[in-house]
């Protein structure tokens, strides 16, 4: 691929990744703001260090509680870098096999480690 085309492709990719990260972050912060306000108003927080299990997360989100909105925000935030990896995989696709494989391996390791811990 000519250097000019390579440079143009890289710029497109950078702009796309910029968008992915920006949208994911802003959305998660909005959910955090809503959730925190609701949780304080409804006195859902009994202790700042109070933790929540994976099983309870689903119940909290289903009830649209303040904590539920916060959990949704965490999920969106955690998903953002993962979506970024997928976006780079799509861009490198057939153009750079090595980097595509690296992206796939990175994503696979993250998902597998979570599933292993769940079991």
């Amino acid at each position: 691929m000519p250097p000019e085309a390579q440079s143009e492709l890289t710029s497109k990719m950078e702009r796309a990744l910029h968008g992915v990260l920006l949208v994911g972050t802003v959305l998660s912060i909005a959910l955090f703001l809503i959730g925190t306000c609701l949780a304080i108003v409804r006195s859902e927080i009994s202790g700042v260090e109070e933790t929540i299990s994976l099983e309870s997360m689903a119940d909290s989100m289903a009830s649209f509680s303040g904590i539920g909105f916060i959990i949704a925000g965490i999920i969106v935030l955690v998903a953002t870098p993962l979506i970024r990896i997928i976006a780079t995989m799509m861009y490198f696709g057939g153009r750079d096999r090595l980097l595509s494989l690296i992206a796939v391996a990175t994503l696979a390791m993250i998902v597998l480690s979570f599933l292993i811990r769940m079991m």
Binding site: A39, T80, I110, S113
Partner: protein, 281 residues
Amino acid sequence: MAAIEITLLILLLASIVIGLLGSILGIGGGVFLIPIMTLGLGIPIAVAAATSLVTIIVTSSTSASKYLHDGLVNVRLGMFLELFTVVGAIIGAFLVTSLEPSTIEAVFAIVLVYAAIYMQFNTEDSCEPRDISSPSSLKSRFGGSFNDECAGKRIEYGVRNLGRGAGASAVAGGLSGLIGVGGGIVNVPAMHIWMGVPMRAAAATSTFMIGVTAVASALVYFANGLVAPAITAVAAIGIFIGASIGVKKMTKITNRSIKVLFSATLLVISVLMFLRAGGWL
């Protein structure tokens, strides 16, 4: 205002400052946030680490978004090194439930000492970056370029010592998983000193990487039920505000006295963490 609200307000204000510093230094801010939560607010270190990891994702995503737009991030190099940080992060996160909290606190204290030293040497005090790329590395696969507004020209660089950089990234990831930091305090000097990446590009690329590193660790912490929603949300909001302000500057802290002050603060905190690890606090 109830005690809970006051605690959350203190955390919010501290997080804003940490987000500002983190985005400028190319680090996630965990080295500052975790001691505030453990020593200041009495939060268990594993919970503090889980919270820190989420905020690191915020710092990374907020700052990297801007740096990508400005063309500072070396995406290829970042993706390559991410592979190794993720391996280290997963191992570190699995270890955290097997180790005593005092052991983790002692490790963190040692990292703080390193961070204090790092802050003294991680910045360039002039606009003109040192010529650190050897001619033979200029055409390497992972080389990059960026418009340096400070120097007023386009900087091209190559990358060397990929193996050493990969090893450093694995260590950075291990620290991330074990104590809840982003790993930038290892990534940035490794890229700059060993791999020949100019400081601004190294900081931007590190910021790009640490989000994925933090996710790898965070998911393991979440599976262990270590998420505290209230402090996570408040810290994340504060970090977002601070990082959003910090990226508009993207200049390093050049005032020598400020750098010395922050290093001294980190050293004091490390002493307190050692005392806590030893059960004297």
